[in-house]
Amino acid sequence: MSASEPTTQPAAEGRAGWAWRPYALTLPALILLAAVIGYPLLTIVLRSLSEPEWGVQNYVWFFGAPINLTVLQRTFAISAWVTLVCVVCAYPYAYLMTAVGPRVRLMLVLCVLIPFWVSGVVRTLSWVILLQDSGVINSLLRSVGFSGVRLIRTQTGVVIGMAQVLLPFMILPLYSVMKGIDLRLMRAAESLGARPSRAFFTVYLPLSLPGVYAGAMIVFILALGFYITPALLGGPRSTMLSTLVQNQVLSLLQWGRGGAMGVVLLVATFVLLALAAPVMRSRHREAGRR
């Protein structure tokens, strides 16, 4: 997960010219990144500062309109909820994947991957059928006495739908970390007198945290940019920032404002990750200690 350390290269090679070789191997990836991410991103930043004229007018507009700030805050809140739901659902599932035999594991992997291969739009529309007022879930709830539970066009509905779409991004990193944890450590802890819960919280959980962090980060960041799911499952009160960007660019041709919104979202995400990084890093080291 962390960058490879060039110092671990065998020094015996002797020739200085060899040192850059490993970096050269990353060139194709770097060129691709520069072309498909770097250049468009730069364009967005430039347009946010240059349209309709040079200056910070688009940013002044963004922070001057309360609706933008409400929606920005809501975007982060929904993403945080989605991440939480994903962690809670994925953790036991990924653990189960490490604990069962190969055949059952294959089944479990397929259960994760098959929906992953189905288009997000199709899955979201399936959620519409399930969540709508006259849908399956509400019929079930009605038959046991709960009526008028609003799921579709609410934030709850959006969080459910997004969590399902993003679940594989949580399960797969978690599983890859968990399968590397030596289960004998748990037995060792228990043999030293720890109850199973104690053994889990002091041994297994810390060792699995890198997977939780990696998965949570991917899910959270992907959730921030979600468009289709909130648009189809949500109502006005669950509109996320991407919808506002779409409206500015596609409907009003305000590329500058749309760009500014994207930049604000990006910077806010960086700030949040920068704040979270120290926590993750310290835990990372702790967990990595063998």
């Binding site: 309109a65 309360p66 609706i67 409400t70 929606v71 809501r74 519409v128 709508q132 007022d133 006259s134 066009r153 648009a231 189809l232 109502g235 006005p236 009160r237 669950s238 509109t239 919808t243 506002l244 409206n247 660019v249 596609l250 409907s251 009003l252 041709l253 590329w255």
Partner: protein, 358 residues
């Protein structure tokens, strides 16, 4: 040199000798194109996909067969994409179907001012041609209500739609993107304003009336969703496009239209600035406006034709939602296009704030 081989074809019969005379003066006749005149050329039609664009292609089949043009399809229409094409000087969209406002808002900037000596607009209903557009089809935004819910006391006008005290129930409104000027005008009337003398402040007034419908209001995102809301009975009153309303009723939705003050809307046909072969684009438009093309369009899409001689053969369920009968023409309300075009930006921003939960 002017060959008129296709004279036996349906559309030509009506025009008869007149067409021959017209040819002599090079005056275009809607629906006609010269045999083989566009051989080797390619035109890209951009529209909104689905059954609608399929119907447009069907309507243009004779044009394609006769002119020899290769017709490509693209879409959906996105003004931002068109803007990118125009600004980069690489316009690949030759004829673009748009919603009501764009040809007015971006006339001369993204859409060409049309040369009406190259088009026969004599059979287009009055008031539908603008400097930069001809109509693509007509339809309506109509108030649909649940007949089982309201029974003997159905809503009759938009005032009833906005009156949740007299008519309780869930409302569904078009939240698919741009605001509908006509709906805001009706809302303004409820809020005590005069749509004929609207001011910018009135936009807020109108949006407040919509907002007062409350948090249960459903803002549908797609035509399909509005149809599904009717068929599942999740909304009690729906603002719907006539095409979707027709399909919902056909599929068994217990809904009926309240036609009084239905909102006149249309799609528009445009030619972007900077297309490579303007004359070919004109030829397509002119063919599209023809009687026979419009009949095919209505028969395949159930939208109302924009050639007033067109006599499409449709069944009763489709005919019930056509908007060009004398009775419907009397009940319809045209939106104040001039006002909405002048205030497009501010209205759209206020509307999108409402859509974002403000």
């Amino acid at each position: 040199m002017l060959k008129t081989k296709g004279l036996g074809l349906g559309a030509m019969v009506v025009l008869g000798a007149l067409a021959t005379a017209a040819f002599a003066q090079e005056k275009p006749v809607a629906g006609e194109v010269k045999e083989g005149s566009l051989k080797g050329k390619t035109l890209t039609l951009v529209s909104f996909g689905g059954i609608y664009q399929d119907g447009q292609v069907a309507a243009l089949k004779e044009f394609v067969d006769k002119s020899g043009v290769t017709l490509l399809n693209d879409g959906p229409t996105e003004i931002a994409k068109l803007q990118a094409q125009v600004e980069s000087g690489n316009v690949t969209w030759d004829v673009v179907d748009t919603a009501d406002f764009p040809p007015y808002v971006y006339c001369g900037k993204l859409f060409q001012k049309l040369d009406f000596s190259k088009l026969d607009i004599s059979h287009i209903p009055e008031g539908q041609v603008s400097d930069c557009s001809v109509p693509a089809m007509n339809y309506g935004v109509v108030l649909m209500y649940n007949t089982e819910k309201y029974k003997d006391n159905p809503p009759k006008t938009w005032a009833d739609f906005f009156d949740t005290a007299k008519f309780p129930g869930v409302r569904g409104i078009d939240g698919s993107g741009d605001f509908t000027g006509g709906l805001l005008e009706q809302a303004l009337k409820v809020g005590g304003g005069d749509p004929k003398a609207m001011t910018v402040a009135d936009i807020d007034k109108a949006i407040d009336v919509v907002r007062k419908l409350g948090p249960d209001t459903i803002y549908w995102k797609t035509g399909a969703e509005s149809q599904q809301l009717a068929e599942s009975g999740e909304a009690d009153m729906l603002m719907m496009w006539t095409g979707r309303a027709m399909t919902a009723v056909k599929n068994g939705a217990k809904y009926a239209p309240a036609w009084q003050d239905w909102l006149v809307v249309m799609d528009q046909m445009t030619i972007p600035v900077g297309v490579k072969d303007t004359d070919a684009a004109y030829a397509l438009l002119n063919a599209y406006l023809g009687k026979q093309s419009q009949e095919v369009l209505t028969q395949t899409t159930s939208y109302t034709p924009i050639n007033n001689e067109a006599q499409p053969k449709v069944d009763a369920s489709v005919a019930a939602f056509l908007t060009n009968t004398p009775e419907r023409q009397k009940q319809g309300v045209k939106q104040n296009i001039k006002f909405w075009v002048e205030n497009f930006q501010v209205a759209q921003e206020k509307w999108s704030a409402l859509m974002a939960g403000n």
